[in-house]
Amino acid sequence: MAETPRTSDVDVAVIGGGPAGLAAALGAKRAGAGRVLVLERDRTLGGILNQCVHDGFGLFLYKETISGPEYAERLAENALREGVAVETGAMVLDLGPDRLLRVNARGGYSLVRAGAVVLAMGCRERTRDMIGIPGTRPAGIYTAGSAQRLVNLQNLRVGNEAVILGSGDIGLIMARRLTFEGVRVKGVFEIMPWANGLERNIRQCLMDFGIPLELRTTVVEIRGRDRVESVVTAEVDDRLAPVAGTETVVPCDTLLLSVGLVPENELSKRAGVELSPLTGGAVVDETLMTSVPGVFSCGNVLHIHDVADWASFEGFAAGERAARYAAGERPAGRTVRVSAGPEVRYALPQTARAGAAGVEWSFRAVRPLRDVRVEVRGRDSGRIYARRKFGRILPSELQKIRVRAAVDEDLEVGLHD
């Protein structure tokens, strides 16, 4: 019996039902889109928020601090109340440049044709072999986010004595979480001379519990045949190479890796979306549209955020623009390019239409700096479009600067003395 896949049409399809995707669906709905469909591969909406049982979410979006699951619940309730269609347990396997989605779910394998698509797939964690930690391959090595899920959602004890490599926020949060659960956290080791997580997390998750943070130190070997038995740490030099003679054996049965997040752009690549080597996410214009017309991107799949609220704000904006695209609006005209200047890792969006005004740029500093000002400068004219002072700026924080004036030349976002 030949079965042809069911095909449906939607105005806006949102891939991913986390803080960015749910907001995008709401943004699209509020901008007047008819049928808005969120496709979520997990069994529930909310994405990674569901495993973030700690407080600290919603300060910007809801003006109060709530837990991740509460944040997800509010956003999901809003989306459903405002008429967003949702499919959970539905994984998008393919996205074509023509905005045709192949979706698999227990309820059936189907095709979805979308007037506009919002990419909101989030990110994944860097793994042991992406950073090349030598040694044996025993059980007991987890990425921090996987461990967070196993502990918070599956109620499982992942180990008894843990070492955490990398000072990303999830690793810091997990240091505290494991300590609460009676797991001895022997230390957090960070290869860079500064911490990668937010300052409040260093304070509240490590210092308050007396967990040591060793900077300029990394794990150079994993030992243990069946289960981790110890890790060897070593200090690193200015080129981040381990310094011989500084090795220390730290007995433990668990190693958590919090060594960075990577936007998960497998589908974007299939659609032919141009990616930025600096962010790992799509190259977008000021409407958050990618190089593929009608395909928008927001949240951690676009670039890594420090706070969920910002991913949601980006989602609202992408959803609104997607709705307008689906309704036939086609931004036209010359574009200007925006590049990262001194001490800036990246600036996003990477392009903007000439004449666009009120565009907000996101950027990250390359390293911690004091008493600097960020400037958005015209590359030809040297004109300063916007400027803001920072007493202190950290690479762990995603920063923003808005340009009120209309832009009409290539720009550079840089940090200056």
């Binding site: 079965e3 896949p5 394998y109």
Partner: protein, 489 residues
């Protein structure tokens, strides 16, 4: 297990690697009671999982040796065998590349050696032909071997064992042989899973073949482990290699030199190194070797040293030559023990052992047939039921599968697109996958870019639903437990 109840097996095979499983499957053609004993919790957990997965043509081993004979015969058998069993494989061809004129004489030697052994499809090619055959490779001259190919080594092992099982053979896992006694022409094998009796024993215990032989008193050889480290590139790393690319084999290298091998899925394997180690479980990787692998790879394919890598693994070669002698050449041992009639030792089956396995299996059948009547079964079934990978199917077929069984619609592995139905099939395989690695090698769950970060928590749930509580979930059996109980009741 009660011996009296089980009775006496005609043949017991010790070791569930590619050689042991090929022997088991070959013998399952005949009317024999067969048993395979494997010490680990899964098959292919030893030498057979840590290699390049190359179907060798046979020019790298000295003509006249058993290695050469078994390799060339195995080459002829392997492609039809892999096809019959539905094991992913491809005849890719292979290049042994000399970067300058200096390397050419060595290529000529390999060509001559190969021709003496009867290796088909060999020729020396020039720079232009190299580029045409493999656009990523560069070199002045190369030996091109048209018949070389690639195969997924552990999938081959699983398929061989399953085929044998379907034809009546039994398999016991976590059953290391701890003692051997001989009573009136019957071997009694003691394992933690019980005692087993067999009239013939095939020792294909790989790295531990010497220890098993010593238990029986069959022979005095010794197996020396040589460690080989590998790196695996990301499929989307920007390099698509069509065929294995090897350097001119270094004369002092106990291996074939660090080479590049494509996998069936589009990764590239870099390696292996070749280094004698003291312990047979020393699978640790080192920073130094990882750097060397990248440097050597960059000589064969410029830029590959900077490719993104998603995984690293290490294998051990079971060599019969001690490190002090340079570890260069010793022939396979495929022989009935002079001291213990009915006991057959298979030892030193290193490269090209994967390719040679089907030929070795036939040799073993011949050895067994000299003292025991081998009556071919009339109902021997050479193939396996077709296994479909969701990721490889078209829309209509996917829709049909999901409509028939919702487990095809529940995606477990987002990187490799593995649905729950495939995981369930792996868990319900005849030998029962009970570890994450066992599921991984059967489904690719955890082999992708996230390296299990997303699918491990889901697999833990599925394993529990299938009857294996989290406390008993391991990475690869034994003490490799994942969890220490629940956090709260």
């Amino acid at each position: 297990m009660d011996e009296a109840k089980d009775g006496v097996y005609d043949v017991a095979v010790i070791g569930g690697g590619v050689v042991g499983c090929a022997v088991l499957r070959e013998l399952s053609r005949y009317d024999l009671r067969l048993l395979l004993l494997e010490r680990q919790s899964d098959l292919a957990e030893g030498v057979s999982k840590g290699n390049s997965g190359v179907i060798h043509a046979g020019f790298n081993v000295p003509s006249g040796s058993l290695k050469a004979r078994a390799n060339v015969e195995g080459l002829g058998l392997m492609y039809p065998l892999a096809a019959a069993l539905g094991v992913p494989h491809r005849m890719t061809g292979k290049l042994v590349v000399a970067l300058s004129d200096e390397g050419r004489p060595r290529l000529e030697e390999l060509l001559a050696e190969g021709r003496r052994s009867g290796v088909p499809g060999l020729e020396i090619v020039d720079e232009a032909a190299i580029r045409r055959l493999e656009p990523l490779a560069r070199g002045r001259w190369a030996l091109y071997s048209a018949r070389t190919g690639i195969v997924s080594p552990y999938e081959l092992v699983f398929a061989l064992a399953e085929s044998a099982w379907r034809n009546g053979a039994e398999v016991a896992l976590e059953a290391p042989v701890e003692a051997v006694a001989v009573e009136g022409g019957t071997f009694r094998l003691a394992t933690p899973r019980g005692k087993f009796a067999a009239r013939r024993v095939v020792n294909s215990a790989g790295l531990f073949a010497d220890e098993v032989a010593r238990l029986a008193g069959s022979a005095d050889f010794r197996v020396y482990p040589y460690r080989g480290e590998y790196l695996i590139t990301d499929k989307d790393g920007g390099f698509r290699l069509g065929m294995p690319v090897y350097p001119v084999p270094p004369r002092d290298d106990p291996g074939l030199g660090i080479h590049l091998t494509p996998t069936m899925e589009g990764h590239i394997l870099l390696g292996p190194s070749a280094e004698p180690v003291a312990a047979k479980d020393d699978l640790a990787s080192t920073r130094e070797v990882a750097e060397r692998l990248k440097a050597e790879a960059g000589r064969l394919v410029p830029g590959l040293e900077r490719a993104p890598f998603i995984h690293a693994y290490t294998g051990l070669r079971p060599k019969l030559v001690p490190p002090a002698s340079g570890g260069l050449f010793a022939d396979f041992v495929v022989a009935e023990s002079g001291r213990l009639p009915g006991w057959i030792d298979l030892a030193g089956i290193e490269s090209p052992g994967l390719t040679a396995a089907p030929a070795i299996a036939r040799m073993v059948a011949d050895l067994i047939g000299t003292g025991m009547a081998l009556r071919p079964k009339t109902d021997f079934e050479p193939g396996l039921p077709e296994r479909r990978r969701f990721a490889d199917l078209g829309d209509a077929e996917r829709a049909r599968l999901v409509a028939a069984d919702a487990d095809w619609g529940e995606m477990v592995c987002r990187c490799e697109h593995v649905p729950r139905a495939e995981v369930a099939a792996a868990l319900r395989n005849p030998f029962g996958a009970r570890s994450l690695d066992a599921v991984k090698r059967r489904t690719r769950c955890g082999m992708g870019r996230c390296q299990g970060g997303f699918c491990t928590p889901r697999l833990v749930d599925i394993l529990e639903e299938e009857g294996l509580p989290p406390d008993r979930v391991t990475k690869r059996g034994g003490g490799s437990r994942l969890f220490y109980g629940r956090l709260k009741d």
